[in-house]
């Protein structure tokens, strides 16, 4: 029996966080503990992915209570795949943070390591849980650690931005709890697989209300326009590695929760127009916002918001092709967005400013960094043969297959967004990497820990390259995951057992 493996991605980081607090005097011990734990969990989740792909969803009934009564942890293809990518990226970001020195900071010691490990535990639990209330707990675990991380150091700008972030997230958590209360009142269960049976039996009106409420809750977390306003205000103020990990993981967890609940609880057979409109708005508002920005980090935050729209687009189609595209895009986007924020951190460290106009006057950043930026930026813009192209192609094909005026209009918006992404990235390139500036860079001599930071950034970029290199198998895996999502029965049978023996 390998089901117990399921608890490892949640339990190991939590235990390590406790240990990490205990050894707070020794930075070396904390570093070793953090990287060691994440490596171990990454290995476990890779095993989970292989097992889930070969044998179907793995299920663990926590505490031995069987499924609708107890809490179950479930790893199917979608959650295991996202877990592997998320952990690989969070490991790279941790190494970067250690190199940069964010991890330890000045005295008094900041609780970076424990908070980071708890964040990873929360992310893992959100991916693996098969229970709606447990999902709420996972979100809280993840968000509470992110409040700590985003407010680290607590200077003036940081507190102001941290406040916005904290209050918005708290509000969405309360709305989530409200939704759980209402769903429980309507169905009498919070187990996702069980809800998959009971929610479709509810009257149409109640179903729509619950569906929209969950959409809003996860829309706030995933920064869907018009619920995105908090993100570009709060993320850029945090240190680079923290921004990178929040941008790469938190929005994707929100998106994962949206995909999971909408496909499992509210099966549809046709395109869902409200989500389609939200996707188009997200694409356009995000990228136009990015064009107006003068600050590298804010610009990247708006690009992040914009590209959430691609994933919503795939979900709104409710076809195997669309969901395949969403899964592929999420995998690609986790890696590319984290890499870009890390590179931005290095550029800001090199030149001492995040303003595009002042970056342009500074001597260009070194060639290696330029190369990494080019890879990540072109991938995000969807230039073949990089990972973004693979994911966008899958989405566009799904859109064309679906047809219809609304879908085609959205396709046009998606293409326009890709072009504007390229334009925005070219602006950053011209300011940071093109020759012309004379002002000497701020980094005097060698930046401390530069090799580690460069290595970690290269690692994050390489994950994206690996996605492109393994595009064939990965696309087939995503397609199998999408088929599972739409069929629903695989997930439900794995959790609840044979439908014939289930008490009707």
């Amino acid at each position: 029996m390998t089901d117990w493996l399921l608890i490892a991605p949640v339990l190991l980081p939590v235990l390590a966080a406790g240990l990490s607090l205990a050894v707070w005097r020794s930075a070396a011990a904390q570093r070793l503990l953090g990287t060691g734990t994440l490596t171990a969990v990454l290995a476990v989740s890779a095993v989970l992915l292989v097992l889930a792909d070969r044998r179907g969803p793995l299920v663990l009934a926590v505490g031995g209570w069987p499924a609708p009564a107890g809490i179950s942890l479930v790893a199917d293809r979608l959650s295991a795949l996202l877990l592997v990518v998320a952990l690989a990226v969070s490991l790279a970001v941790l190494v970067f943070a250690i190199g940069q020195g964010t991890a330890e900071g000045d005295l008094p010691r900041t609780p970076f390591h424990p908070a980071y490990l708890l964040l990873v535990a929360g992310v893992a639990l959100a991916f693996l849980t098969g229970d709606l209330f447990n999902l709420f707990v996972a979100f809280e675990l993840m968000l509470a650690s992110s409040y700590v991380l985003i407010n680290l150091g607590a200077g003036e700008g940081r507190v102001r931005a941290g406040m916005t972030y904290t209050i918005t997230s708290l509000l969405s958590s309360l709305l989530f709890l409200t939704a759980i209360g209402l769903i429980y009142a309507a169905t009498g269960t919070v187990n996702l697989a069980d809800l998959g049976d009971r929610v479709p039996a509810l009257p149409e009106g109640i179903r729509s209300v619950l569906s929209l409420l969950l959409l809003i809750v996860f829309g706030i977390k995933a920064a869907v326009v018009p619920l995105h306003f908090w993100l570009p205000d709060s993320y850029p103020t945090a240190p680079a590695p923290i921004t990178a990990v929040l941008a790469a993981l938190l929005t994707k967890v929100g998106l994962y929760a949206m995909v999971r609940t909408q496909t499992l609880l509210f099966p549809r057979s046709e395109t869902w127009t409200p989500l389609l409109v939200a996707a188009a708005l997200t694409l356009l508002v995000g990228i136009v916002g990015a064009v107006a920005q003068q600050d590298v980090n804010r610009l990247l935050s708006f690009v992040l918001v914009s590209h959430i729209g691609f994933m919503l687009f795939g979900l709104s189609l409710y076809t195997v092709g669309g969901l395949t595209g969403t899964v592929l895009y999420a995998v690609h986007h986790i890696a590319a967005q984290a890499a870009l924020f890390l590179i931005a951190g290095l550029v800001v460290g090199w030149s001492g400013t995040a303003k595009l106009s002042r970056l342009a006057r500074t001597a260009p950043a070194p060639g290696l960094l330029a190369g990494l930026f080019a890879l990540a930026a072109l991938s995000l813009a969807g230039i073949p043969p990089l990972s973004g192209f693979v994911a966008k192609l899958a989405l566009l094909q799904a859109g064309v297959e679906q047809g219809g005026a609304a879908v085609l209009a959205l396709l046009a918006a998606a293409l326009l967004t890709s072009l504007l992404t390229l334009y925005v990235m070219a602006r950053v390139w011209r300011a940071a990497f093109a020759a012309g500036g004379e002002r000497p860079p701020a980094a005097r001599g060698r930046m401390r820990g530069l090799r580690l930071m460069l290595g970690a950034t290269a690692g994050a970029v390489l994950i994206g390259v690996a996605v492109a290199a393994g595009a064939g198998p990965l696309a087939r895996l995503s397609e199998r995951a999408a088929v599972d999502l739409l069929e629903r029965s695989t997930y439900q049978e794995a959790v609840l057992g044979d439908p014939d023996r289930r008490g009707g």
Binding site: M163, L170, S173, A292, Q294
Partner: protein, 123 residues
């Protein structure tokens, strides 16, 4: 179909209204109170989902299962109370920090937003 307790429903509705009103204020202290009130109203809502009150479950005192109160929403509300409590303390610390740094507890506008807006208007 369970009967809905009108008093609780009205209380929950009222608390939600008060909470959201406070949340929309500019003073951080009021924001904090708004969050507290909203937290309570949400917990009450979860408890309401349990249906009408009943006998204590699980204790094994020989009541008929139909008369038991539903224990699951109670467990959920307890978890939520603990979480809200912890986060409220963090929020209070943030409010205090903000007051120490700025000398007042108003929510500040985002400087960068303003600047970008002005630039767009000028050009």
């Amino acid at each position: 179909m369970r009967a809905l307790d009108l008093t609780t429903a009205l209380v929950v509705g009222g608390l939600f209204a008060v909470g959201f009103h406070l949340l929309l204020q500019r003073s951080l202290m009021r924001l904090l109170f708004g969050f507290l009130v909203l937290g309570h109203s949400t917990n009450l809502l979860v408890l309401m989902a349990a249906g009408p009150p009943g006998d204590p479950p699980i204790t094994g005192e020989g009541h008929a299962p139909e008369t038991f109160a539903d224990p699951l929403p109670q467990a959920m509300a307890l978890t939520a109370i603990v979480i809200t409590f912890g986060v409220t303390v963090l929020l209070l610390a943030l409010v205090y920090r903000s007051w120490r740094i700025q000398g007042h507890d108003e929510v500040r506008d985002d400087v960068e937003d303003r600047r970008v807006g002005e630039e767009v208007l000028e050009s």
